[in-house]
């Protein structure tokens, strides 16, 4: 071996055939005229696109592109080539003669004359089927990751919210037990006092007076126990149950409730306005209970110097009953929990109750296929109960 002999090397390196390099290069070559018509294309590209090489010159570049590719070519590739003379590494979809799509990557450069006018645009084109598939998978993975992140975020928010609600309910339940104990102890103490007094009565009149006081305490305790039972049934047994429902004229029922509360609170003015000609299909004692809870609330929470306004009417096949009182509006925060069990608002020391009144009222409304809603603005808080006149036709 005479490595230093140049003639030796020359003899084993074949001369590159530039025409063959052009035609059969491992990439596509394409030359476009300024009007984007094809001037020349190599055999490699023609083969990829399923054309005979001679078929391509004269066609428009856009004829070889997918619809999206055409728009991209016209709105991005051509303008950029004119402005900066080149555009590298752009992805575009080409179409074969038989309508198959080939994703490609291309570089393009504009060949210009002395005055800057375009002579040719030259493109080198690489098939990018695997690359584009990979890119698509990357995009899908990115979208999936984003979706998973959002889902876990949603889950976190939900978990936090339900945890918070659970914690608040537990707190309220503890309060409830304390209040129940406290509220039962009062009438119990007065019963015990009444029993002791009975031993010392001097006349039957006195006995009647003590008996009435004791009955009053018993009634209060019975009411508390009823509320607890209603709550337990509502919570544990899939909703509050109603007794027998019949078509009932409600005006006397409501009048009775007003009379009871008015006699217990003679200092408060209650204005009523009833238009209740048509009977309503309902469990009347439950409706009375609902009304009594609403009216009782209005008396405890409303401004003492302003009248409570009660309106009841039958209109458009529905029965509507509203109780409005003046005074401080209910805070937005309180609104959220108003109809939940054990909620007692900002209770003043003198006020009693288990925080079940509105919960039970709304359960009664639901059991009648109705709704209980509240609006509270400066100067007026109004609870409105609505229910259909007749049972739904099955």
């Amino acid at each position: 071996m005479h490595l230093s002999d140049p003639s030796h090397n020359r003899s084993i390196i074949p001369v590159e055939d530039l025409n063959d390099l052009y035609e059969n290069a491992p990439c596509g070559y394409l030359s476009l005229l300024p009007d984007a018509r094809i001037a020349k294309a190599n055999r490699t590209l023609a083969t990829w696109l399923e054309y005979e090489p001679a078929e391509l010159p004269g066609k428009l570049m856009t004829d070889l592109l997918s619809m999206a590719g055409r728009i991209f070519f016209e709105t991005h590739v051509r303008p950029l080539l004119r402005m900066q003379g080149f555009f590298n590494e752009f992805a575009i979809d080409m179409m074969t003669k038989t309508g198959n799509r080939i994703p490609v990557l291309a570089n393009a450069v504009e060949r210009r004359d002395e005055a800057g006018g375009a002579l040719f645009t030259r493109l080198t084109i690489f098939r990018a089927i695997d690359r584009r598939r990979f890119e698509r998978e990357l995009l899908n993975a990115r979208a999936a990751a984003e979706a998973a992140r959002q889902q876990s975020e949603q889950l976190r928010v939900l978990t936090e919210a339900s945890l918070k609600a659970e914690r608040e309910t537990a707190e309220l339940r503890e309060q409830f037990i304390a209040v129940l104990g406290h509220d039962l102890r009062n009438p119990l103490a007065s019963l015990s006092a009444g029993a002791r007094m009975m031993l010392k009565v001097k006349s039957p009149e006195e006995a009647v007076k003590f008996e009435a006081m004791m009955q009053n305490s018993v009634a209060r305790m019975a009411k508390l126990i009823d509320s607890v039972m209603d709550f337990a049934r509502g919570r544990l047994g899939g909703g509050l149950t109603l007794g027998e429902r019949v078509f009932q004229a409600l005006e006397p029922v409501l009048d009775q409730v007003v009379a009871e509360l008015a006699s217990a609170h003679p200092e408060r003015a209650i204005e009523t306005h009833f238009e209740l000609g048509t009977p309503v299909y309902c469990d009347a004692p439950r409706i009375a209970q609902l009304f009594s809870n609403l009216l009782g609330n209005a008396i405890s929470h409303g401004a003492p110097d302003a009248p409570i306004r009660v309106e009841g009417q039958v209109r458009n096949q529905s029965f509507q009953l509203s109780v409005a009182n003046a005074g401080q509006p209910i805070s937005e925060k309180a609104m959220e929990r108003l109809f939940q069990p054990f909620y007692r608002g900002e209770v003043r020391p003198a006020q009693q109750g288990l925080g079940l009144g509105l919960y039970i009222a709304s359960e009664i409304a639901k059991a009648h296929g109705g709704t209980l809603a509240v609006t509270s603005v400066q100067d007026e808080t109004r609870f409105t109960f609505r229910m259909p006149l007749a049972p739904p036709v099955l």
Binding site: T62, G69, F72, T75, H76, R78, R82, R112, G116, A118
Partner: protein
């Protein structure tokens, strides 16, 4: 944020009247680089980038506002009011032709004449109208833009390469042309190709010039004729240029047609 900064407004030239140039989908005010300078001697030329394109303020992009062409028309009106434009000439390419029409409907005194380069009031065909695309093809375009994310990113990257053929462009190249945020470009494509302004055309009162290219795959000749037929005081000029961007491929022809009209 001033309107001038938001839309990268560039005012040049001098003259009693103003000529406003608006770019279409895919590029920025560079689209007018071979046309606008020709009018600087006789007109105050106003160029700007739609929000999301070129050197506009990307933070000003509001997906709700720009979910319809009206959002872009409102920007144009704001630019016009800021510059106290009256009896100006509006030159809009592609989708901006319709943006100009919307602005002119709202404020007819601002533009005495409208020049529409490759306009289309509706890209999608229906029973009686041929816009050039089926709804499916437009969906294909939008998903192509989605899939071509990598391509968009590459386009976003600054192109710092020199240009031996045109050294005078060297400095500008460091900023690259037609930069678009890919997300915004996708949204703009949707607004553009889903738009339907056919009903607005008969209400356009400004005198209007429609410049139509040959072999334009985006706004074909039939569409240009439709625009001419439905805008009352309009003229149609068929250019020799091919494609969708005669402002770049045949600026001389475009300049001559505008001059002849104004």
């Amino acid at each position: 944020m001033s309107v001038a900064k938001r839309n990268n407004v560039q005012v040049r030239g001098s003259g009693p009247r103003a000529m406003v140039f608006a770019h279409g989908f895919g590029c920025d005010q560079n689209m007018w680089r071979f046309v606008a300078p020709e009018f600087e001697r006789d007109y105050r030329t106003v160029l700007f980038d739609h929000v999301g394109a070129g050197h506009s303020d990307l933070n000003a992009y509001d997906p709700v506002k720009y979910a319809s062409l009206q959002g872009y028309a409102d920007d144009l009106l704001e630019i016009g009011r800021e510059l106290r434009l009256e009896n100006a000439v509006f030159v809009g390419h592609s989708v901006s032709a319709m943006i100009g029409a919307l602005a002119s409907l709202q404020h007819p005194a601002m533009f005495e004449s409208l020049i529409m380069v490759g306009p289309s009031p509706r890209y999608i065909d229906d029973d009686t109208y041929k816009g050039g695309f089926s709804a499916q093809q437009i969906e294909e375009l939008l998903s192509f833009l989605e899939e071509n994310y990598m391509g968009w990113s590459a386009q976003m990257a600054p192109m710092i390469m020199g240009n031996p053929d045109r050294p005078e462009l060297g400095e500008e190249l460091t900023n690259s042309f037609c930069r678009t945020d890919p997300e915004i470009a996708r949204a703009f494509a949707r607004v553009t190709f889903m738009s339907d302004n056919r009903a607005d055309l008969p209400r356009v009162s400004a005198r209007t010039l429609v410049l139509q290219c040959r072999e334009d795959v985006i706004a074909c000749q039939q569409v240009g004729e439709y625009v001419h037929k439905h805008i009352p005081r309009s003229e149609l000029v068929l250019l020799n240029a091919t494609g969708h961007c005669p402002n770049l491929s045949a600026p001389d022809e475009v300049v001559a047609a505008i001059r002849a009209f104004v």
